[in-house]
């Protein structure tokens, strides 16, 4: 019986995380405190998301892990291999549609999630109020009273200075008309996906020891003003043309900007690598089909 315990965490740690997730779902957007165990990686490297995944996953389930939309970046690879090592009998995939559980850092997949899927987001800073109130005790009261006036003033100051709200990621979002959450450093592009999501979304902050949730089919409204509505990133070029991915040509996805090291030119690519691959495969499939048809 020298076998390592399934899921690395002991059963007491898992039960604590599990109880916290149930309260998190019952109180949408509220940050439930939990003890956050020591993991064999530094806090701030996705230990919150990892503890959620380890408490959730069971044998036979399929997991996808992404970091900034990519299955191959270092944080995703490390987390995936750790989970594979400690959870014998699970499967992993890079295909969004094949996953039962998706653990992600900083992105929500382009492909819409289904009811039978579950998204776990890694969170560095869970409290949207931290920019306006330093004391956690005071923040907890403000959250309880749903008093976000100081946060709105902060957004208003942005408008005064820059004529628009300049928050690019971690956009404060109100859940079920009460709690405002920090939805983790997802781009604005992904914020509308929180609203009425078919899938349950759990957020875990390991260093800050908080778990919170956006239940399925729940209102999620980014904070904004009537005359300054929320908007997502604009990928139009100087001629007003929507930029497309240099690799797959997709012009409807969230794009990452690169500088071509040879030419010094700016190029854009899909941030979601599985989405990009599937676009390419589809095109190749179509090309092959055309070739076959043309005989």
């Amino acid at each position: 019986m020298n076998q390592e315990h399934f899921g690395f965490l002991d059963e007491y740690a898992k039960k604590e995380v599990r109880r916290a997730t149930l309260k998190a779902v019952a109180i949408p957007g509220y940050q439930v405190p939990y003890s956050s165990r020591e993991m064999p990686m530094g806090r701030g490297f996705g230990t919150g998301g990892l503890q959620l995944t380890l408490a959730l996953i069971g044998r036979g389930e399929t997991l996808k892990v992404i970091d900034q939309g990519s299955d191959d970046s270092v944080n995703a690879v490390n987390l995936r291999s750790f989970i594979e090592m400690t959870c014998p009998g699970i499967h992993t995939t890079i295909r969004t549609e094949q996953a039962d559980l998706i653990q992600s850092r900083h992105r929500i997949p382009e492909k819409p999630l289904r009811e039978d899927q579950l998204l776990v987001l890694q969170v560095p800073y869970p409290d949207a109020l931290v920019v306006v109130e330093a004391s956690e005790d005071r923040r907890k009261l403000l959250h309880g009273e749903a008093d976000y006036s100081r946060l709105l003033v902060k957004l208003y100051e942005d408008i005064v200075k820059f004529s628009e709200i300049t928050i690019s990621h971690r956009y404060p979002t109100r859940i079920n008309g009460h709690y405002v959450i920090d939805p983790s450093p997802i781009p604005r592009w992904d914020v509308p996906k929180l609203h009425n999501s078919p899938a349950l979304i759990l957020l875990g902050a390991g260093r800050e020891k908080k778990i919170y949730a956006v239940p399925p089919y729940t209102q999620a409204e980014p904070l904004a003003f009537e005359d300054v509505p929320f908007r997502v990133e604009d990928f139009s070029d100087e001629h007003g043309q929507r930029r497309s991915c240099v690799r797959c040509g997709c012009n409807s996805s969230f794009l990452d900007e690169y500088v071509d090291s040879a030419t010094g030119e700016q190029v854009y690519r899909c941030s979601d690598s599985d989405w990009c691959n599937q676009q390419l495969e589809q095109q190749q499939g179509v090309e092959q089909a055309v070739e076959v048809a043309n005989g």
Binding site: T21, A26, I27, P33
Partner: protein, 184 residues
Amino acid sequence: MLEVAPIWQPHIQQQNYRLLLEAMSRPGTVHPIQGLNRTSNSLLAVLAALLDGSVRFCDLSERLETSDIALLQAIQTVPEEADYLLCSGIDAPDFQPRLGSLASPEQSATLLVHVEALQAGDLQLDLTGPGIKQNRICNIQGLDTDWLVKRESWVCGFPMGVDLILLDQQQLMALPRTTRVEVH
């Protein structure tokens, strides 16, 4: 070798936890509890998946054996201080559960209410709220209607409130504090 009943095995507890999470995420949906056999009842299966020595609980239903309670390891207490409360649906509630505070609403009770049958009976509820796309109809047999009146008074001050898990012999469903319930 000593045979451990399925509900005490970690992989069954994981499955039952996921059912609870699914039930809490989608109020009114009914899920079959895993790992039940002659010696285990549905209440015990759910408690086994959630409780340990850091939790206080109270059994008002008197459906648990003393030996089961010892295995749960949880601290027994009075209803007013319990994190988890076991109740019988046919009895009208006559206690005041913990509702949490404005700053810490999670420090509130979860009520496990045993009823005769889910998906049966004359009591028909129309549910709306988070986790429900439009509305969801569910039927319950063996729930005193006073439960719904009391629940309303417990959950009216969001974020404070209680969360209900309803169980019959085989299955469970949940009514978190955010669910709005109308009797048909």
